[in-house]
Chain length 370, copies 2
C-alpha cells in the first residue's frame, strides 16, 4: 500500500509536458504560453502626444515669459490616427490631440491649459521642459523586448496585450485528448432502453465534465462490457489519446480482467491499488505514450480519484507550473463513496460536492463523507 | 456624480434573467438550471443487493443456528446487469453479486462471509434481519422527487447525477450574446497593414476574452470609425444582441458623438459618467431589449469597467443568484488606466492584473495603480 502523496509523486514523474500548437488569439485564453513572446516593433511606433495641446520645437519657446510671450503660427492638426502631413519649422506649431503623432520638426507638447489662441497663432508665456507630454517611440516596448515568458497562463489582459503586439496566433501547449471508457455489463447509455437491471453510466459524463473543467478534450469511448476481448478492442482504439481513463472493473474478479487487458496491450504498470482501500483498487501506467488510469466504478470514488490524480496530471501536461495539491483533510475523505447513493446524499445535504459557483474551481473538488 | 455601488444597483435593477434553452448534458456544465429536475423513475428501479452473497426469502432461515444449520438449494445466479430469470421459493437461494437484482420471492441477502457452500447448497447457521443487504426500489430516489432546484449551477457531479436520471438534455438559462465594438480612427485590426499612426484595437480582444471568461458568447462587431453615420449603422446591426459594449469615444468631443448615436437609436439612458472621473465617462442604458454599455477606451479602464459592471450583469442574465461584488479596495483603484502603457507596466511588475491561474477567477479582476 502506498499513500496518496507518494502516488501523486510517482504519477507526476511520469507526466510529459505536451508540445505546442498555434491557436487563434481568443482561443489562447486560459492556455499556457509555450514560447516567450517578443515584441517585433517599437511601441508606440512613433512619438505621440499624451495630451490635447500644441506641438512645436522646444527652441521656438526660448525666452517665453508672461512679459515676452511667444507667438507660433498654427500650421495644421494631428489627431489620433490622422497625422499632420507637414513638418514643423521654427516659429510654427501644430494643434495635437492626445494620441496624435508628433510631426517631424517638433519635440515638445504644450497643454491647452497653459496657452491661448489668437487669430491663428498660439501664444506661449512659458517654456515647459523639452520633450514634455511626448511619449517617445519605443517608450512602452522596444523591438526585441520580451513581453511574456513561456509558462505564463493567458488571461483577458494578456489577450489584450497580445492583440496590441499584433499576435493573431499564439503558441500554447497542446491540450490532452482524454479517452474515457466505463466497464460493466450493468451499465447503460442514453440510447439504450431503460431497464430495472441496468444503471445509467453516469461516470462517462461526470468524468467528461471533469476533463472539460480541467481544460482538456474528452473523448467518450463509451461503455465496454465485461469480456476481455471487447475491453482490449476498445482500449486499442483509444491508444491515440494522450490519456486513457477506465472506470469500474475494479471489484474482485473484474480487477484481474482490466489488469489483463492493460497488460496485453503492453502496459508499463507503475502503480496499482492507488487508493489503498480493499475493494477500491486503481491502476496507473503507460501504454506507449498514453497515460492510463484505471479508476473505481463508484461515482464519488471515481470523481475523487480524478481530482487527486488525473486533474493535476492534465494541468501538468498543458504546461501549468503550479498544480494545486489536495489537502490532508481531503486525503482523509478518500474512497468514502458507496455508489450513486452517497452522491445523491451529498446533494441532499447541501451540495457539499460542488466546486465553487460561477465557473471552474481552482481548488480540487471536495466530497465529504455522508 | 454617482458612486460605483449605486451604479451597480441601478444596472442590476435593469437586468433581465434570460429565458431557458435545452442543451446536451455535457454542455450544461457551468450553466444555471432553469427548471427543477424531478426524478421520473424510482432509483434503484428494482431491489438490488449491496454485497456479494446469496439471496433468499427470510422465512427460509427460520431457526437457523450453528446447531441446526439450514441448507438452501442454489438455483441460479444474479450479477449486476445479468438478472436471474427464476423466482426463489422456500428452501432455495440465488447466488448474487453486489448490484445484482434481487429476484422475485427473495427479500434478504446473506453475505459470503457468514455462509458456506456444500454440493450445490448454501449452508446458513444464522438468520440476519429481514431485508438485510438489500437496497429497496426507490431507496435513493422516488419517482416524482425533486433532485435539483432551479437556480443551481451545474458542476461535474451534477452532470453525473443528471446522467443517472437519464437527462440527455438539460434546461438551463440562455447565455447572452454580447456584441463588442471599439471606436476610434486611430484603431487598426489584424487585417490592416501596420502603420505608426495606428494602434491595434486590443480592447476588442480583451473584452471578448472577458465575455468568454464570464461564460457568455462574444460577437465582435469590430472597429467603428469616428463618424456618426458609421457608428449608428454598426450599432443597428448589433441590436439583436442581448448586450452591446462600445469602448472609446469617451474623450471630450467624441463623447457627444457616442451619446448622439445611442440617442438616435432610441436609447433609454439610465446612467452616464459611471466611473465619475473627468475624461473617463461611461454610459449605461437600454435600446429595446438590448443592454448598452459605453466604456472608456483606455484598456485598463475598459477592463475594470467590465469587471465592475458588465460581468455581474452577464452572470445575473444567466441566472446566477450569487454575483460577486467588488470590494472597497477595488473601488479605490477605479479608472487608474493610462492606456496600454499602464497595462504593460502592470505586466512588467509581475502581472498584477491577472486573474487566478488555472481557469477563470470567481473574484473580479484587480488592477493596481502602476
Amino acid at each position: 500500500m502506498i499513500d496518496v502523496h507518494k502516488a501523486q509523486q510517482i504519477i507526476q514523474a511520469a507526466i510529459p509536458v505536451l508540445g505546442s500548437e498555434s491557436v487563434p488569439l481568443l482561443e489562447s485564453l486560459g492556455r499556457v504560453l509555450a514560447r516567450d513572446i517578443v515584441a517585433t516593433e517599437d511601441s508606440p511606433g512613433t512619438d505621440i502626444s499624451t495630451k490635447d495641446g500644441f506641438t512645436l520645437h522646444h527652441k521656438s519657446l526660448t525666452g517665453a515669459s508672461p512679459q515676452s510671450p511667444v507667438f507660433l503660427k498654427i500650421i495644421g492638426e494631428s489627431a489620433a490616427g490622422r497625422p499632420c502631413g507637414a513638418a514643423v519649422k521654427a516659429g510654427e506649431a501644430v494643434r495635437i490631440m492626445a494620441g496624435g503623432m508628433v510631426p517631424d520638426g517638433a519635440d515638445t507638447v504644450v497643454g491647452l491649459e497653459i496657452v491661448t489662441e489668437d487669430h491663428g497663432y498660439v501664444v506661449c508665456t512659458s517654456a515647459p521642459r523639452r520633450g514634455g507630454s511626448v511619449r517617445l517611440r519605443g517608450a512602452l516596448l522596444k523591438n526585441g523586448e520580451t513581453v511574456f515568458r513561456a509558462g505564463m497562463v493567458v488571461g483577458p489582459a494578456e489577450v489584450g496585450v497580445l492583440a496590441s503586439l499584433r499576435r493573431a496566433y499564439v503558441p500554447v501547449h497542446r491540450r490532452p485528448l482524454v479517452a474515457i471508457a466505463t466497464t460493466g455489463d450493468e451499465l447503460a447509455d442514453f440510447h439504450e432502453p431503460a431497464s430495472p437491471s441496468k444503471t445509467m453510466s453516469s461516470n462517462l459524463y461526470a468524468l467528461a465534465a471533469q476533463v472539460l473543467e480541467a481544460g482538456a478534450v474528452p473523448l467518450c469511448i463509451g461503455i465496454v462490457g465485461d469480456e476481455l476481448e471487447t475491453l482490449q478492442t476498445h482500449l486499442r482504439e483509444a491508444l491515440h489519446a494522450d490519456v486513457i481513463i477506465t472506470s469500474g472493473g475494479m471489484s474482485k474478479g473484474r480487477y484481474d480482467l482490466v489488469r489483463e487487458s492493460f497488460a496485453a496491450l503492453g502496459m508499463d504498470m507503475k502503480l496499482s491499488t492507488l487508493l489503498g482501500k480493499p475493494g477500491k483498487p486503481a491502476i496507473f501506467g503507460k501504454i506507449g505514450a498514453s497515460l492510463v488510469f484505471g479508476l473505481p466504478g463508484s461515482p464519488p470514488a471515481a470523481m475523487i480519484s480524478f481530482e487527486q490524480f488525473i486533474r493535476p496530471a492534465i494541468l501538468r501536461m498543458m504546461g501549468h507550473a503550479r498544480v494545486p495539491s489536495r489537502s490532508a483533510a481531503d486525503d482523509r475523505q478518500e474512497g468514502t463513496g458507496d455508489g450513486l447513493f452517497s452522491l445523491y446524499q451529498l446533494f441532499k445535504q447541501g451540495r457539499a460536492a460542488m466546486p465553487a459557483e460561477n465557473g471552474p474551481s481552482p481548488i480540487p473538488l471536495r466530497m465529504s463523507s455522508p
